[in-house]
Each structure stands twice: as structure tokens, then as C-alpha cells.
Subunit: 152 residues, 2 copies
């Protein structure tokens, strides 16, 4: 994991799905060398995958809600988290410190779908004692990019 790897990852983070040769040209190496590095990064799970970013408004799911899910028994956290993670409309599930509380990010079409999921997939779960829902009015940023260290 050196300067060159970081350079490659920065390029891919700006725009995945560009040809290998273009990455190679940018970092000034042979395509085959770059290919091998990328494959190693994938094998080491430094690169976990490549995703499309779709426009949610085109698919009737432009409504975001964050739901704090209070769980009674801390020993249930793991299985509850996994079950929530299996719901298609759930994009994120995190366990929050200090309140025995899971936080879920939901993407739905409207209030009706939100209510349906709260009732059918969340509040009815074993060990769930309550929820608090935060509805998003507008979003200023949504990205999976992470800060990569400078490499000169």
C-alpha cells in the first residue's frame, strides 16, 4: 500500500468505470502493472466493490428517514441489526453508543411506505421497545467517498 496505490484509488474514487489504460496513463505506468495492483487491492479487500449511483427521484424513493430503534435487551442488538439490514429499503444500520439504540437509514417513496415499513418490519420486532423517526426535508450531500492521505 504505497504512493502509487493511493494514486490509483484516488483516480477510481473520482470516477470508477474508466478504462484501465487511462488509469495507467495517468499514473505513468504500464497497463498490466496497474491491472495487477488493482487486482491485489480487490483481493486484499481494500477495494470492496464498484457501485452505480442512481438518481432516487427517478424511482419513487426520494424520501429519506432516519429511525432510532430502541432495543430492550443488549444481547439482541446483533440479530436485530442483521434483520433490519435485510430490509431492501434500509440503506444503513448502525449501533449507537450510549443508548442501546440502533439507527436505520430508510429510503422510501412516501409517508405511506414509511408507515408500512415501521409497522411491518421494525416496531413489531422482538425486543424493540420503541422508535423515533427523523424525516429528511432536503439533502446537501450523500457520498461514500473517504479521505485518502496525501502522497508526495
Amino acid at each position: 500500500m504505497d504512493k502509487t496505490d493511493l494514486e490509483i484509488l484516488k483516480i477510481l474514487q473520482k470516477k470508477a468505470r474508466i478504462p484501465n489504460v487511462e488509469v495507467a496513463r495517468t499514473v505513468g505506468m504500464a497497463p498490466s502493472a496497474v491491472l495487477e495492483r488493482i487486482k491485489k487491492l480487490e483481493a486484499k479487500q481494500v477495494i470492496q466493490g464498484y457501485e452505480v449511483r442512481l438518481n432516487p427521484e427517478m424511482f419513487h424513493c426520494s424520501m429519506i428517514a432516519f429511525v432510532h430503534v430502541r432495543v430492550k435487551d443488549p444481547s439482541r442488538i446483533r440479530e436485530t441489526g442483521q434483520e433490519l439490514a435485510s430490509v431492501d429499503q434500509v440503506q444503513e444500520v448502525h449501533y449507537l453508543a450510549g443508548e442501546d439504540c440502533l439507527m436505520v437509514k430508510l429510503r422510501v417513496s412516501d409517508n405511506q411506505e414509511l408507515e408500512r415499513i415501521l409497522r411491518k418490519n421494525i416496531t413489531c420486532m422482538e425486543g424493540v421497545t420503541g422508535t423515533q423517526t427523523f424525516i429528511v426535508l432536503s439533502s446537501f450531500k450523500e457520498s461514500a467517498k473517504i479521505m485518502l492521505p496525501d502522497s508526495p
Copy 2:
């Protein structure tokens, strides 16, 4: 935006960065036809981009915090949101209904960096009257995938 487009998007959502021909084979069409559809989807901004998903643990930013940022004057929401969005460690910024509150998702290396960003980038902002920070202990799901309608 028909059955075929949805099929293509589903394939790309599972695994972007596969060759065009493979998409074409899967949907049973000529590569050039698929290429044209993908280009149109990009032009219409249905596809907004392609991203790498990197493993945060490899880059010293495996700590996630959600920060509720209370803003005094609702007229400041927009500019405050945009300013927060410009911080590298900020992955998401949403405006929450009902509390004149922005919610920020942060990815940092440790408590020290969290404190630094809270102090240098958030609490010191014009119009920010307070914050509440939720620290994540573990995550069960993080994805940008959205539900696509079935297409039979």
C-alpha cells in the same frame, strides 16, 4: 425507461464495472444497443456516477459519528448545509423536519479528529447554537443501493 432499462440498472447495481458485452449477453441484446441505453441513462442523469467502495478500516477512518447540528435561524439552513457538505470528512448532510436541525454523518479516525472537526468546522459556525453527537459502535449495513421495481 422500460423493462430493459430496469434490467440493465439491476445488473449494474449488483456490480458496476463489468464489461458492456456481459450486460448485453445477460439481457440478450447486441452490445451496441445496450451501450446506447446506458449512455442515454447517463445523459438523463438516471445514472449519476460510478463509485468505488473502499474499506474504511484500511485508511484510518473507521469511526462514524452522526451529529445533529441545531441552527438558530432557519434562513441559514441552506448555507450552513452547503458549508458542512464541503468538509472532506463529512459524507452526508440532511435537513431534518421539525427541529431546525441539520444532521451530519462524519467519518474520522478517532475521538481526537472528531473533536477537532466539531470545534473547527461545526460548533464555531455562524448560527449554530448546539450539537448532539451519536457515536457509532458498529455498523450492520452501508449501501447506496435503491429498490428497483420488478419488471416481468
